[in-house]
């Protein structure tokens, strides 16, 4: 018994052959392959295992963070000559930055109140422009 859903369209879809690849494909791939072959082994490894390396870097960073919390490297740094002055300077700089952001006023607005929306708006604008360009480029292809 024949399949009632097997209509003329199905037959035509089944009869379709592979499309012809563009003639530029092979030279382009071979060019890239030769470029890759000429690179150092570790750059090829980084490219081919980018996802794995990203995860590895994230993992190592987390381990380092936990180690820093447990060991407190500042205690070792304080033994280095001159390091105490540097350690004292860092909180001062942070305090100055905090005061500038929260307490300094420009036209009765805090600096943070002006900078934060400006940064957010410019980020949204950049993403919108990039998406529009990509959309236009894609519809032209």
């Amino acid at each position: 018994m024949s399949d009632p859903n097997h209509d003329w369209l199905e037959e035509e879809l089944e009869s379709l052959r592979d499309l012809e690849a563009p003639p530029t494909l092979l030279p382009n791939v071979m060019k890239k392959v030769r470029e890759r072959a000429g690179r150092l082994w570790w750059t090829r490894l980084v490219e081919s295992r980018a996802e794995l390396l990203r995860s590895l870097v994230l993992g190592v960073s987390l381990v380092m963070l936990v180690l820093m919390l447990l060991v407190n490297p500042a205690q070792f740094l304080s033994r280095v000559p001159g390091a105490t002055a540097l350690l004292n300077l860092i909180p001062l700089l942070l305090d100055a930055a905090k005061s500038a952001l929260f307490e300094a006023k420009v036209f009765n607005f805090s600096v943070l109140g002006i900078f934060a929306p400006a940064i957010i708006l410019s980020y949204i604008l950049l993403v919108a422009i990039a998406s529009t360009i990509q959309h236009l480029a894609n519809t032209r292809k």
């Binding site: 379709l16 690849a21 990039a130 529009t132 959309h135």
Partner: protein, 184 residues
């Protein structure tokens, strides 16, 4: 003996072990490999993304990935399947990446209906190829996976992370749109 002294190209390269000759032999072999599979990989990508320029970029990416694994692939008996899977995944990733970015600003949930008609082509098969490319993504991708990759509804549903009912209705709608376009 002559027979013993005669070596095949691959044996010669294996025995000589000279870097440059060996690299050239691998390159030649890889070129042959591309020639054998380029149409298949390009077709998979072109039918999924519906855009020939993007399909060419994706095909290049597939072969570059294949080059990194060429020592294993040349010995494998399932190289065609591997290439198809990689081409399918890269094509779907390409559509998802593009769609996710653009949807945020402009795209509505309902895909745009086909406005353009299929141009009168001398070849009916060419007209069908063109009609497939003009289908909205939501209809084209499951239809291509079902008809050209022999995937089941369940497999398509899992791959595209949509419900089984949606896969069935999208494939049905895709077929109807194709029929409409081809009988105009």
């Amino acid at each position: 003996m002559i027979a013993a002294a005669t070596l095949s190209l691959s044996q010669f390269h294996d025995r000589a072990g000279f870097g440059l000759d060996r690299e050239m032999a691998v390159e030649e072999e890889f070129e042959m490999f591309i020639r054998s599979y380029q149409n298949m990989v390009f077709s998979v990508s072109a039918r999924i993304v519906g855009n020939l320029a993007d399909a060419e970029d994706i095909t290049q990416e597939v072969f570059i990935k294949a080059y990194d694994r060429f020592p294993e692939l040349r010995k494998s008996g399932t190289v065609g399947g591997w290439l198809k899977t990689v081409a399918t995944n890269l094509s779907i990733n390409h559509l998802n990446r593009y769609r996710a970015r653009w949807r945020f600003f402009s795209e509505q949930a309902e895909p745009v209906e086909i406005a353009a008609e299929v141009e009168p082509e001398s070849d009916r098969k060419e007209a069908l190829e063109l009609a497939i490319r003009k289908l909205p993504d939501a209809q084209r991708v499951p239809l291509v996976l079902f008809h050209f990759q022999d995937m089941s509804y369940e497999e398509i549903s899992a791959k595209l992370q949509v419900s089984l009912a949606k896969v069935k209705s999208d494939i049905h709608r895709g077929r109807e749109t194709l029929k409409r376009l081809l009988t105009k």
